[in-house]
């Protein structure tokens, strides 16, 4: 009796009796029919169950392949994952992934299992045929015979069953996935072909993504390299420009000094031209020196801009009073106003809160804006206004100069762009001042803009965000502490001078005590720490290179102790280590040789009568 599942004959059941004729009757036939029917249903069920199980298994592997493909952007790992999964899924003796390079026409095998093929020329082997025809190939027996008929050369180990499918991205064939058996004939089915094609479609997308990722990585690395090259170039250019400048400025200064001290006093003549020449040579040398210094500033400006852009500028962010910044900037630019006889008005709102900023850089912004205002103004006046507005401090510099046309206003903050016609209007300056201002203001979290009308003048405005309230309360408690210490010496404040050189201590004592401060001195770091703890001075002036404990270590000890952390420290050093100074929270630092005027300014700023923040 036949066993049939669906329409397919899958076997026979036969009953035979060797002893008796007519051993079976109709009812036996019916019984057997019923049994065979049940048997075929059971077989079909088992087959369906196996098939479902296998499908589930395949689905899970396909899933894992897809996952590997989406999560792996590195090609090498990607190929390895895909290959290993194919091997597991198809239980294949040979698995390979072939990729074609369309430029060189070379097929390479980034993944091979069970075989070891060298890269080959496109045109050889079954792989080339699949790439050429863009069609899958399933060969379940006589693999070589068929290949021979098609004129395909055998590459690698001979297979008994071969399945290969093209890997596409859009319509382009990128390569081939192949699974093979070396032992079994008829190993792969049409459904295997379908499954491998499904996987290949995903592989195509994954490879394309990995390529995109690789390209992006390459572009990023190139950009980094370019930026590095730019920095090196600028560093070299800086060096090459400075060397001649050093000679120009240096020799001009020496010549001037020698002329003034050794030569000109001995040129005694009443002759008019000689008298005039004596004045002129000195004037001319002054021009050489000041122009040389102008060039130096320009080089520094360009370097600053590059460094800001590359994120390599050292910032010294600290709590500061904007009015001090304004005062320092107006001091530095006072000669410009005198030269042009322009009046300057400064209006600063009372009781402005402190902000977090880089003092020197903000002064740089103000100097730039003020110099521009003076440069483009021939008559009228210049007004600086500072006020708080919407959680920020707003600073404006207004002039009554030539103004900027509406169309040019966007360009003024662009690098190397100067407004106006550069053929008729001689460019004044570098065109880098405002772009640097913009970078500095933006680093502080503020913004800068211009409001201007041609022939009526310009107002440059920038704002700087005010610190969080926590900082404000810290300032208040510091101020209270300051008031207390102020009362303990009848209003006189104490300054501790720490320096191992007695001459320097002498000099500082003489100069500073003139301003009504009480001076204490120690000669090394160890004594400094002890003295601060015992006497609680209002301010410490600290040398860096000293025996026992160096100045930076003293500062670190004082700044980490809650009792002394708010005590202002001024470092006087020959070592220009801004980064370290800022990391340690040192309040001010000045380089030696000592500039007493600057030092007194810092002291006044930190603990003087007008200081908003004291000990």
């Amino acid at each position: 009796m036949p066993i049939i599942t669906g329409t397919k004959l899958i076997g026979n059941v036969s009953l035979q009796n060797l002893d008796k004729e007519n051993a079976y009757n109709e009812s036996d036939v019916e019984l057997l029919e019923t049994l065979v029917n049940s048997l075929s249903i059971a077989i079909e069920n088992t087959r369906l169950f196996e098939e479902t199980k296998q499908q589930a298994n395949q689905m899970s592997i396909v899933n894992s392949v897809s996952q590997a493909m989406t999560s792996n952007l590195d090609l090498e790992t990607l190929f390895k994952r895909i290959g290993d999964n194919l091997q597991e899924l198809f239980r294949a003796d040979i698995v390979y992934i072939a990729m074609i390079d369309k430029v060189t026409n070379i097929i390479s095998f980034p993944y091979q299992y069970g075989d070891d093929m060298a890269p080959m020329k496109y045109g050889e082997g079954l792989t080339s045929k699949i790439i050429e025809t863009k069609e899958s190939r399933l060969i379940n027996k006589d693999v070589q015979l068929r290949n021979d008929k098609l004129g395909i050369k055998r590459i690698g180990i001979e297979a008994t069953s071969y399945l290969g499918v093209p890997v596409f991205y859009n319509d382009e064939v990128l390569g081939v996935l192949s699974v093979q058996s070396t032992k079994e004939v008829g190993r792969f089915s049409d459904s295997d072909t379908h499954l491998l094609e499904t996987i290949a479609a995903n592989v195509g997308i994954a490879i394309h993504n990995a390529w995109l990722f690789e390209d992006a990585e390459k572009a990023r690395a190139q950009a980094e390299q370019a930026s590095e090259a730019k920095s090196t170039f600028l560093s070299t250019v800086s060096h090459e420009l400075r060397t001649p400048l050093t000679s120009v400025i240096g020799f001009a200064k020496i010549i001037k000094e020698k002329l003034e001290e050794r030569v000109l006093p001995f040129v005694v003549s009443d002759e008019k031209k000689t008298k005039r020449a004596k004045v002129q040579v000195i004037q001319n040398l002054d021009i050489v020196i000041s122009e040389g210094e102008r060039l130096t500033t320009l080089i520094n400006t360009v370097l600053d801009l590059v460094k800001i852009e590359a994120g390599r500028l050292d910032w010294n962010m600290q709590e500061l009073s904007i009015s001090t910044v304004i005062n320092q900037a107006t001091d530095a630019t006072s000669s410009l106003f005198e030269q042009k006889s322009l009046p300057l008005h400064v209006e600063i709102e009372q009781n402005l809160p402190k902000i977090l900023g880089d003092n020197d850089r903000l002064i740089q912004v103000m100097i730039n804006l003020i110099s521009n205002a003076v440069k483009f103004t021939d008559e009228g006046d210049i007004t600086i206004k500072v006020m708080s507005k919407d959680g920020s401090i707003q600073i404006s510099v207004k002039d009554s100069g030539i103004g900027i046309a509406k169309t040019d206003q966007d360009n003024v903050f662009e690098k190397f762009k100067q407004v106006g016609d550069t053929l008729t209007d001689k460019p004044k300056g570098t065109g880098l001042g405002l772009p640097i201002c913009k970078e500095i203001v933006e680093y502080h979290g503020g913004k800068i803009w211009v409001d201007s009308e041609l022939d009526k003048g310009s107002t440059f405005i920038f704002d700087l965000p005010i610190d969080d309230p926590k900082k404000a309360s810290r300032q208040r408690s510091a101020e209270e502490a300051n008031t207390q210490s102020e009362t303990k010496n009848n209003g006189q404040k104490t300054i501790l001078i720490v320096d191992d050189e007695p001459e320097i201590r002498n000099l500082l004592r003489q100069e500073i005590s003139e301003f009504g401060y009480i001076i204490k001195e120690v000669e090394d770091g160890k004594q400094a720490v002890e003295s601060v703890r015992t006497h609680q001075p209002d301010l410490v002036i600290l040398d860096v290179m000293m025996p026992e404990i160096n100045g930076f270590d003293v500062a670190a000890i004082l700044k980490s102790d809650p009792k002394t952390k708010d005590m202002p420290i001024i470092v006087l050093s020959i070592v220009d280590d801004k980064q370290r100074v800022s990391n340690l929270g040192i309040d001010a630092y000045l380089t030696k040789p000592i500039d007493i005027k600057k030092l007194m300014k810092e002291i006044e700023k930190l603990i003087g009568k007008d200081a908003q923040i004291g000990a």
Partner: protein, 127 residues
């Protein structure tokens, strides 16, 4: 008292001249001024003449300023030697490197002759 000596090191002839003229008045104080045109020569002079002060350029052929500092620190036991590096601004990382290599301080080019002279006087104890 030991003889005072200072060494000028720069491969640029003009800068050497400038430093020599800047520091020439120190000869009145019996300071001997020595000159080297590259790093190797500088090292040789330092080990032979034992100067108290060196003004040392960084970018030089043969042996750069950092290498000179390191070699001096490693091979010569000269606690009293004071090295002033002459660097270009824009090379901050290099400056740190120089100080780590054993230089005592640095000055940026273009430098001011007056400042260089004052520093030399102070370091040599003549100020």
């Amino acid at each position: 008292m030991e003889d005072l000596k200072l060494l000028i090191v720069d491969d640029e002839p003009h800068i050497r001249m400038l430093l020599e003229q800047t520091l020439e008045d120190l000869e009145d104080e019996d300071v001997e001024i020595l000159v080297a045109t590259n790093g190797q020569e500088a090292f040789d002079i330092i080990s032979k003449e034992k100067p108290q002060l060196v003004f040392l350029d960084v970018m030089m052929p043969k042996m750069n300023g950092f290498e000179v500092c390191e070699k001096v620190k490693k091979e010569l036991n000269m606690e009293k030697l004071h090295i002033v590096l002459l660097t270009a601004k824009g090379q901050d990382a290099d400056r740190e490197k120089g100080l780590n290599a054993g230089a005592n301080e640095y000055m940026t080019k273009p430098f001011d002759p007056g400042t260089i002279k004052n520093r030399a006087m102070t370091i040599l104890g003549l100020a």
